[in-house]
């Protein structure tokens, strides 16, 4: 029904095909990348084995494969979704293999081909997967050197590797990786486990790491040649649409499928609550779905609405049990003895990732085996979920993640994959399910809303002696205060979330840092101190001090603070999460008449240990700053009776070009600690810095994100 086109062949030739005749236990595959390379991985090498990005050992062959043309395949379970692991992990492998980075061909996120490096989340690629790949590459290099030494009957210490060529320093005899590719002794040697104590190149000797290497497939992206998950086409494929309840918690009572069934070329399927239509075009599938949706009757269950969100969260807060507070000193007596006590509540709305590429999956069943192409952060995790959902062994499920549209923590789950697999199995044909924007807004998950209660006690001399901080619902990341306070009580309490919630770039750290850094500003004001001096007076962490001082210097904090007017304010904030540190200064323009906050300028200093790819890290910091602006100012899910009221870009306003301030990023150099990830933490300083700047200009303290809405409420 669907003609095979040139484009489709191109898609297929870019994929990796299992050799059909190979038995399941003998994992073998052909890689078709135009060069016609063949890789065979034989029994005994468990490529799907969990390496946890560095934990348990895997065979070298599962990580590194030499090609005869001198290129090297390096396998990783990590997913490229715009944050740079394709370049960074290629650099890591190139560094340890002693080859130029363009010699590395990184094979990513295909459960049939790569080891499990854990889900792509939590800034773990840099601290876990980079070392794992480096160890794999370094072990491979050592094995190859030893092989050459054996062949030449010399001591390996006499050999040197450069540019993929092993040279005997004395005889100048050489052999290249390409020469060794395909030989049986390499295959034998690569069965060995990756060594976890192999020596890695020290930072001072890095040649490839530390460079601004561009994303290796940039050109394919710029020319439209790259196929994202939503672009993948399989022969004979249908497009599927899934029936969604009219509100959360609604259950399907009855439905009449006959009208859609009568439509030409349409396939309709129901399994209890699941109803889907598939057709040769998504237009037709949508028409069919509309026809059946009109006949559906639903049982509605009452749901909490946005207007009672914060009281609902407080009412259902789970204190005690597992969520018991961490304490230091004696908070109650410190608060009682303090000369000034402040007590305030901060709130945080639900927000959505709204990734540009909504969830998409293509599922195909062949002889009881399921192959899925989908945009998910954890291919192995989704492989397991699909195996359970369809009751098949996980080695009969293969999940392939082509480089996908950004997820920002929002694509940990495989809903579209399951939708597609269910429909494909019933239809007996491959089915693609592409979520619409409205589906993504409604049926994906949200960053948790929060109520955050803060209490602080100051001594007469202005020093902070008591800190009581409770986050209800959003979680405990970055909840501990980095400030030096003698008496603290810190609690992350779960609650009953009205909306489905999940991960997000830096998750709870943003809310916790917003409340903490805003409240620190309130305490500084109460102590009559400059916000910068007040922080520094309570801060021992030298890394945070450094970024704070760096940013204050570049922003010219002291001078600009003196120039604050009723309309132009400056504010600062800092924080730490995931072993990196950040500080930001901002300038805002507040338009009281229109209740508008415009961020004019952001200066941010960030430090995450040795920088592995400066250009990419700069993109991440800039991206975090801009992404953080949205929930800081405007983004907020509105919901009522189980329905999302603003499930569109027309009513949910994410940052656009017109919102871009002057952005000045400073990457602080630090090389004596291991590298940490940098794709998340730069987001946490922006909201409190904005709030503090608004206060500096107006004297109005905004204790709710999004703050523009909060400002309007206060001015009303």
């Amino acid at each position: 029904m669907i003609e095979k086109t040139a484009t489709e062949e191109k898609v297929n030739s870019k994929c990796f095909e299992f050799v059909q005749e190979a038995g399941l236990s003998r994992r073998a595959f052909v890689q078709l990348l135009g060069t016609g390379l063949l890789i065979t991985v034989t029994e005994g090498i468990s490529i799907g084995q969990r390496s946890r990005g560095g934990g348990r050992s895997i065979a070298v062959a599962a990580r590194v494969h030499l090609n005869r043309d001198g290129t090297i395949n390096v396998m990783t379970g990590k997913v490229e979704e715009g944050q740079g692991p394709r370049a960074q992990l290629s650099q890591a492998a190139a560094e340890e293999l002693r080859v130029p980075v363009d010699r590395i061909h990184l094979i990513m996120s295909d459960t049939g081909l790569v080891p499990d490096d854990g889900i792509t989340a939590g800034s773990r690629t840099t601290p876990s997967t980079v070392p794992a790949v480096r160890q794999g590459a370094a072990t491979a290099r050592e094995l190859l050197v030893r092989l050459a030494a054996d062949r030449w009957k010399v001591d390996a210490a006499n050999l040197n590797v450069q540019d993929g060529v092993i040279t005997n320093k004395k005889t100048r005899q050489t052999i290249s990786y390409a020469d060794l590719a395909g030989s049986s002794d390499v295959a034998e040697a690569f069965k060995q486990s990756v060594s976890s104590d192999v020596a890695l190149k020290p930072v001072s000797e890095w040649k490839v790491l530390g460079e601004s290497v561009a994303r290796p497939n940039s050109r394919d992206i710029l020319t439209g040649a790259h196929h994202y998950p939503s672009d993948v086409v399989r022969p004979n494929m249908l497009y599927g649409k899934i029936l969604r309840p009219p509100s959360y918690g609604a259950t399907l009572q009855s439905i009449d499928l006959s009208k859609a069934r009568a439509m030409k070329d349409v396939f309709v399927f129901r399994d209890d609550q699941f109803v889907g239509c598939a057709a040769p075009s998504s237009f037709l599938a949508s028409q069919a779905l509309e026809a059946v949706a009109q006949t559906a009757s639903w049982r509605i269950t009452p749901q909490p609405s946005g207007k009672e969100l914060f009281s609902h969260l407080k009412e259902h807060a789970r204190t005690g049990g597992r969520s018991s507070p961490r304490t230091r000193g004696s908070i109650d007596s410190a608060l009682a003895s303090a000369s000034k006590v402040l007590s305030e509540t901060y709130t945080l709305a639900y927000v959505q990732h709204t990734p540009m590429e909504p969830r998409a999956a293509i599922a195909e069943w062949n002889d009881g085996k399921l192959t899925v192409w989908s945009g998910v952060d954890g291919p192995q995790r989704v492989q397991g979920d699909l195996a359970r959902a369809f009751d098949v062994p996980s080695d009969r499920v293969r999940v392939i993640v082509p480089d996908m549209g950004g997820g920002f923590g929002g694509k940990h789950t495989g809903e579209a994959a399951e939708d597609a697999a269910r429909l494909a199995r019933a239809a007996g044909r491959p089915v693609a399910v592409h979520w619409t924007r409205a589906e993504e807004f409604t049926w994906a998950y949200f960053r948790p809303a929060a109520v955050i209660e803060c209490k602080g006690g100051l001594e007469a001399n202005g020093s902070l002696i008591a800190w009581d901080f409770t986050n209800i619902n959003a979680g405990g990341s970055a909840i501990d205060t980095p400030y030096n306070i003698a008496n603290t009580r810190i609690l992350s309490a779960g609650s009953d979330s009205p909306l489905r919630q999940g991960s997000y770039r830096c998750l709870a750290a943003t809310g916790n840092n917003f409340a903490r850094e805003s409240f620190m500003d309130e305490l500084a004001a109460a102590a009559g101190a400059d916000p910068l001096a007040f922080r520094l007076a309570h801060l021992e962490n030298s890394r945070i001090r450094t970024v704070l001082e760096t940013v204050a210097k570049h922003f010219n904090w002291a001078a600009r603070k003196k120039k604050v007017t009723a309309e132009i304010g400056v504010g600062l904030a800092c924080g730490t999460e995931k072993n990196s540190v950040v500080a930001a200064c901002v300038e805002v323009h507040v338009d009281r008449k229109r209740g508008q906050i415009k961020v004019n300028e952001v200066c941010e200093a960030f430090e995450c240990g040795p920088v592995q790819n400066p250009a990419n890290l700069t993109s991440q910091v800039q991206g975090c700053i801009m992404m953080g602006l949205g929930p800081a100012l405007r983004e907020e899910m509105q919901f009522e009776d189980g329905k999302i009221l603003n499930a569109s870009f027309a009513r949910y306003l994410v940052p656009r070009f017109e919102d871009v301030p002057k952005i000045d990023v400073h990457l602080v150099k630090k090389t004596d600690i291991p590298s940490a990830g940098g794709g998340e933490t730069p987001i946490i300083a922006i909201a409190p810095a904005i709030g503090n700047a608004v206060f500096a200009a107006t004297g109005i303290r905004l204790r709710a994100m999004p703050m523009q809405n909060a400002l309007r409420r206060q001015l009303a």
């Binding site: 715009g82 994303r215 020319t223 990734p355 996908m404 950004g406 920002f408 017109e658």
Partner: protein, 160 residues
């Protein structure tokens, strides 16, 4: 009722028989397998689906294919001249102005349309011209730099 619609896509004449109400974007992606233009919202609010129709910037998700009959469509696949990237593509490459890249095709076509109309835009004009395009990786800073660079390069080439 299906209609017979003829489009010239990236220089190739293509004929489809389909419901004229179907969005141009769907026809390009699903029927002609031209997948450079992306779906981002389907409501004209994100620019991911931007193409040039008879040289003018067009949101393919809100244009019924019937109204594109006999029109010339340029997508990201049709911009480069063989191996030579279009100056706007080249500028995006040089500035490293891609993160996930899902918005990139729409960004580039919006920039091409902008620079065709106004080869020397001010920053305000770039912001106005690009404001319909969303990037959720929020790579706006480098994209702005890329558009500025493209404008400068094009101006350089056009100098007598």
């Amino acid at each position: 009722m299906d209609a017979r619609i003829t489009l010239t896509v990236n220089g190739d004449k293509r004929t489809v028989v389909t419901d004229p109400q179907r969005p141009l974007l769907d026809v390009l992606r699903e029927q002609l397998h031209v997948t450079g233009p992306k779906y981002g919202c389907g409501e004209g609010r994100c620019g991911a689906c931007t193409v040039l129709m008879d040289g003018r910037r067009t949101l393919a998700c809100v244009v019924p294919v019937g109204s594109a009959d006999k029109k010339t469509i340029t997508t990201i696949e049709g911009l480069a001249d063989g191996d030579r990237l279009h100056p706007v593509q080249q500028a995006f490459l040089d500035e490293g102005a891609i993160q996930c890249g899902y918005c990139t095709s729409g960004m580039i076509l919006s920039a091409v349309a902008l620079l065709n109309e106004n080869p020397r835009p001010t920053d305000e004009q770039i912001i106005e011209g690009m404001n319909g395009n969303l990037c959720r990786c929020n790579g706006y800073t480098k994209i702005m730099n890329a558009v500025r660079r493209a404008a400068a390069n094009i101006a350089e080439v056009k100098k007598p």
